[in-house]
Each structure stands twice: as C-alpha cells, then as structure tokens.
C-alpha cells in the first residue's frame, strides 16, 4: 500500500502540520512519498521520495496548477491514497484531485477503526466509518487528530517536478489577522460567550461573569461574525489558541474548530442547556442550565 502525502507551505515556510500526514500514513501502515510546492531549504525532514515543485513558479495558492502537480506525482507513484490535511489548502485541493483521478474522497478523518476511516458528523454528535470504492482514494485528515510524536528526522530523496498548466485564479497576497485590544493567550481565566447567549445585549451578562472571575472575555465564532464581540476575542482555529488555568464556555456547543482553540485549558467548565452538547466531552464540569439565568447567580456568588 502506497500513500502520496501532500505537504503544506505558507509564507515561505513548510507548515508543521505536514508531519501529521506522516503520523497518519504510519498508522495506516503505508509506504510514503511526498509532494511539496515549496523550496529545498524547507523540505520536510522525512525519508522517502519527495516531489518538489518550486513555489516561485507555482505560487503558494494556485489550485489549478497545484492539482496538475499532484496529478504528475500520482502518475509517477501510482499511490493507493493521496492524503491532505483537512485545512484551507487541503479541502480546497482534495476534491479537485479526486475528480481528476475519478476517485472517491473521504473528508476529515478523525480515527482509524479496524483499518476503516472514521469521520465525525452532526457537530460531533455522531461518528461513521466510510469506505472508498476500489482503486485510488483521496483522504483528508482532521487537524490535530493524528499527532506526530518526537522530532522529525530524515532526508528525502528529492525529485524536481514541473507541469505546464494555466490557472483561472490570480493570488494577490495575504492579509494578516487584525490585532485587537486583548491578548487572550496570556489570560489565566477566560469566560467565553457562544451563540447560546442569544443576542448582543446579553454579552454583557457573560462579560460580567468574566469580571467576577477576574478574567477576560472570549467568544465563539458566530458571536464574532454577528459583530457582538471583536475578532481578537475569538477562540478557535481561525481565532486564538489559548490554554488558561480556567476556561468557562457559556452557550457554546463544542464544535471541533472551537475545541481546537481551547482544549488544552487546565480546567474547563461548560454552561449549556443541552446535556448532550459535544462540549460535555471535554468539560471537567458541565452545568446544565440556561446561562442567562445561571451566569448572574454565579457572578454574585463569586463577587
């Protein structure tokens, strides 16, 4: 069994998450080959064949050309699996490769169960195992689900790869996340408001609880998207990654993208009216309550 692992590269650097692909392929027991659109100085420290395309020629985001490069590497290796991280790069590129290969795709694999691909659905409330049809398959793996232990080491056998292909998309550059008034990564206590708080006016109730704890206000994404709280307060994959001594999640369901930003907190309290909310899986204490009623009672008790 052979796997082609498609590494990621951004702003001139190999992304460390590329090693998660390696960890997954090892769990699969697959022979590995690699593809990187990057440069030799940033080649992953791995053993095996590395197909290297120059980022200067193909750009960091150029899906049509990157697809053509993957297909060129596939033609040489004939892999059983082409594997990406389920990231803004991977979920964009993987289906393009799947269609070109006429292969099935399994998205955001969280685990291997008896050699089968396990994925999560309905915001983590259900799981299922999925089987691709016979022939090559395209896989994306959930960020953080397959951890690479130890220091990467190895020396790839580099083979340059080139394709001639056009692209309909012009990449104009990056825009950095705006810097806000708080640095949540330094906070010891974070009390976060989720969509369960209902409306903008109610955010004050959660902010009061944060104050009673002597902590900072955090937020889940919908609260930020709706403009109730500034982006600098957002916790999760597209916000801050935090690990305070205490994290209190108020009316937050516990979507994987939120958990990714706070699951390393020392102690987690969730206040949610849904006893089955997935946040309960990682909470040290789950308070089953209407947070709008409970938060003032708790704040008074603290204050």
């Amino acid at each position: 069994m052979k796997a082609l692992l498609v590494c990621e590269f951004r702003e001139g650097k190999l992304l460390n998450s590329s090693y998660e692909l390696l960890a997954f392929a090892d769990r699969l027991g697959a022979e590995k080959a690699f593809l990187l659109v990057g440069n030799a100085a940033e080649a992953p420290k791995v053993d095996g064949k590395l197909y290297l395309a120059q980022v200067d020629s193909y750009g960091e985001y150029n899906p049509d050309q990157h697809k053509a490069l993957v297909m060129a590497a596939v033609a040489k290796e004939n892999p059983d699996y082409v594997i990406f991280l389920h990231s803004s790069y991977g979920w964009d590129l993987a289906p393009r490769v799947a269609v070109a290969l006429k292969a099935g795709q399994v998205s955001e694999i969280v685990n291997l169960v008896d050699g089968k691909f396990e994925v999560s659905l309905c915001n983590g409330k259900l799981r299922r195992t999925v089987a691709p049809q016979a022939g090559p398959a395209v896989l994306t793996i959930q960020a953080g689900a397959f951890n690479f232990a130890g220091e990467p080491q190895g020396t790839p056998q580099v083979e340059a790869i080139e394709v001639a292909s056009a692209s309909g998309i012009e990449f104009l550059g990056y825009e950095q996340a705006e810097k806000g008034d708080v640095d949540l990564t330094k906070a010891e206590i974070i009390v976060s408001a989720g969509r369960g708080v209902g409306k903008k006016e109610n955010v004050a109730i959660i902010a009061n609880l944060a104050k009673a704890f002597g902590g900072e206000l955090g937020a889940s994404r919908p609260v930020v998207d709706a403009g109730w709280v500034e982006h600098s307060h957002q916790v999760g994959t597209t916000g801050q990654t935090v690990s305070p001594k205490l994290y209190v999640a108020c009316g937050i369901s516990g979507a994987i993208q939120h958990l990714a930003g706070m699951k390393k907190s020392d102690f987690i309290v969730a206040i949610n009216k849904d006893k089955d909310a997935p946040i309960g899986e990682i909470a040290d204490v789950l308070v089953v309550a209407d947070v709008l009623q409970f938060a003032p009672v708790l704040a008074a008790r603290l204050g």
Binding site: Y61, P63, D64, S88, W91, D92, P95, R96, A98, V99, G104, Q105, S107, E108, S120, C122, G124, K125, L126, R127, R128, T129, V130, A131, Q133, A137, G168, I169, E170, L172, Y174, E175, A177, E178, F213, R221, V224, D225, A226, T238, G239, K245, L246, S253, F267, V269, K275, D276, G280, E281, D284, V285, L286, V287, V288, A289, Q293, F294, V297, A300
Partner: protein
C-alpha cells in the same frame, strides 16, 4: 447574468440524533430542520449582488432532498431568490458528496450560470466536497472558503479564510463557483411581505432520477454515537445550589479562586 445558489436543508444540531434502521445514517424522522448555515451566506450574497446590479441577475436556488426541503427553498425565495428548483430525492442523505455534486452539475450543465454559490460545508455531513466537485465537473474556476466577495465587470475579488484569522486575497473572472464561509455577510431575515411574494415565485420539481447517473465512490459502512469519555462532573437542578457546588469544585481543583 444568471446565478445558481445550492442549499441543503439540515437538522438542528441541538437535536438528539438516533441511528436509522439500516445503521448507515441518522433517523431523519422527528427532527427540526433548517437551511444549512453556510448556505444562508450564499443566498444573501447572491441577493446582494442582484440588488447591486440593478436587479439584473436572475437567481435560481436549488436543493436536493425530500419534500420537506421545500421549506428551505421557500425561505430562500423570501430572502430574494427568483426561482426555486427542488430536486426530489427521499434518500439524498445517504448519497455520497460526489453523487450530490454530479446531480447539481447535470442540472447546471447547459443553463449558462455565470456564478454558482455553495456553502463551504454542510453542517450535518461536513464533507466540504460538493461545491468544489461541481466546479470541477463543469470545468470552471472555483475559490473556496470566502469571507469577502466583490464582483464588478465580470471579475470577482474575494478573500479566502485561512487558519488563525489570516486571509488570502484572490481574483478571477466569471464564470466561476465560490464556496461561502461563515461571516461572509449578514444574512437577512425574510419579511412578511416578502414571504407572501415568495409564494407566487416559480417553483419547479425535478425527480432526481432525471439527473443522477454517478456511482457513489464512497459508502458509509456504519454510523454510531461516539463512546462517551465521561469523566466530567454534571451539575443539574437549582441555580443557587449549582453555583455553590461549582465554586466548591473550583476551590478544590483549581488554583484560580482564593
């Protein structure tokens, strides 16, 4: 200009889910349904573009599913889409993303849509495949995960959301397909007059058999609830009592309360 918006109807994620009789999907009975959150941004963006271009674009909204998806389509019409296409399929939940995409592509193939909107993912299955696959099957430009969208003179400028709040700025010409990420805009609520108006808009029903030719490519083997790790303490009951118990636990197990 012709625009297509693809929407999926999904169960409320706060529901309690049960495994169906064949063990390969959730039981779709007795659940409350709504429009997939990511798709609301697609509907809103299409309607905003229509308004911006002096009402010129003709916006079709399409959904594949059983009769109940008519509700989601009516909402999209009330938000401002011009016509609805319901591809009738009582078993759409169990179809693979590739099959769903091929049905959409078969419908769109000869209709000359300049722009197609889909969500970046569905909230129940979350494969993030259907949109890109439709674009590939139709052989057209595709940009995913947009949190910013502007279209003028047949050229789209958009911002793709990357990890950690960073964005990638992209530019491309129509025809194209884009997938919408949360926060792309602020989806409107349908007003009562618009709900009334929506009742008179064109609503076409097409049996899925007329469009489906593709094999599944992937199959669900088994569906189940995750094994509960448990371990955590669950507090229920009286508010004051729970507050006391929580403070006790925090004093006991953390160093944050004096």
């Amino acid at each position: 200009m012709k625009i297509l918006v693809c929407i999926k109807q999904i169960p409320d994620m706060e529901s309690r889910f049960k495994v169906n009789g064949t063990g390969d999907w959730y039981d779709e009975a007795d659940l409350a349904y709504r429009m997939n959150e990511y798709d609301e941004y697609g509907v809103e963006q299409a309607v905003q573009l229509k308004e911006q271009l002096g009402n010129d674009p003709d916006v079709t909204v399409l959904s594949i599913g059983s009769d109940r998806v008519g509700e989601a389509l009516k909402k999209a019409l009330a938000m401002g889409c011009d016509r609805a296409v319901h591809v009738q399929d009582a078993d759409s939940g169990r179809k693979s993303p590739y099959q769903i995409a091929s049905v959409i592509a078969a419908f769109a193939k000869d209709k000359g849509f300049d722009l197609i909107f889909t969500g970046m993912q569905s909230q129940d299955r979350g494969s993030a495949q259907v949109g890109v696959t439709v674009a590939e099957l139709l052989g057209r430009t595709c940009a995913t995960t947009l949190v910013d969208f502007a279209c003028a003179d047949g050229v789209v400028t958009g911002k793709r959301e990357l990890e950690g709040g960073m964005k990638g700025v992209v530019k491309f010409a129509l025809p194209a397909l884009v997938t919408c990420q949360l926060g792309l805009n602020i989806p409107r609520y349908p007003t009562l007059p618009n709900i009334m108006k929506a009742k008179k808009k064109e609503f076409v029903v097409v049996p899925v058999a007329e469009l489906l030719a593709a094999e599944p490519m992937t199959v669900t083997e088994k569906l189940y609830a995750p094994t509960k790790k448990g371990g955590g303490i669950v507090l229920e009951g009286d508010m004051a009592d729970m507050a006391d118990r929580l403070v006790g636990i925090l004093k006991d197990k953390t160093a944050v309360l004096r």
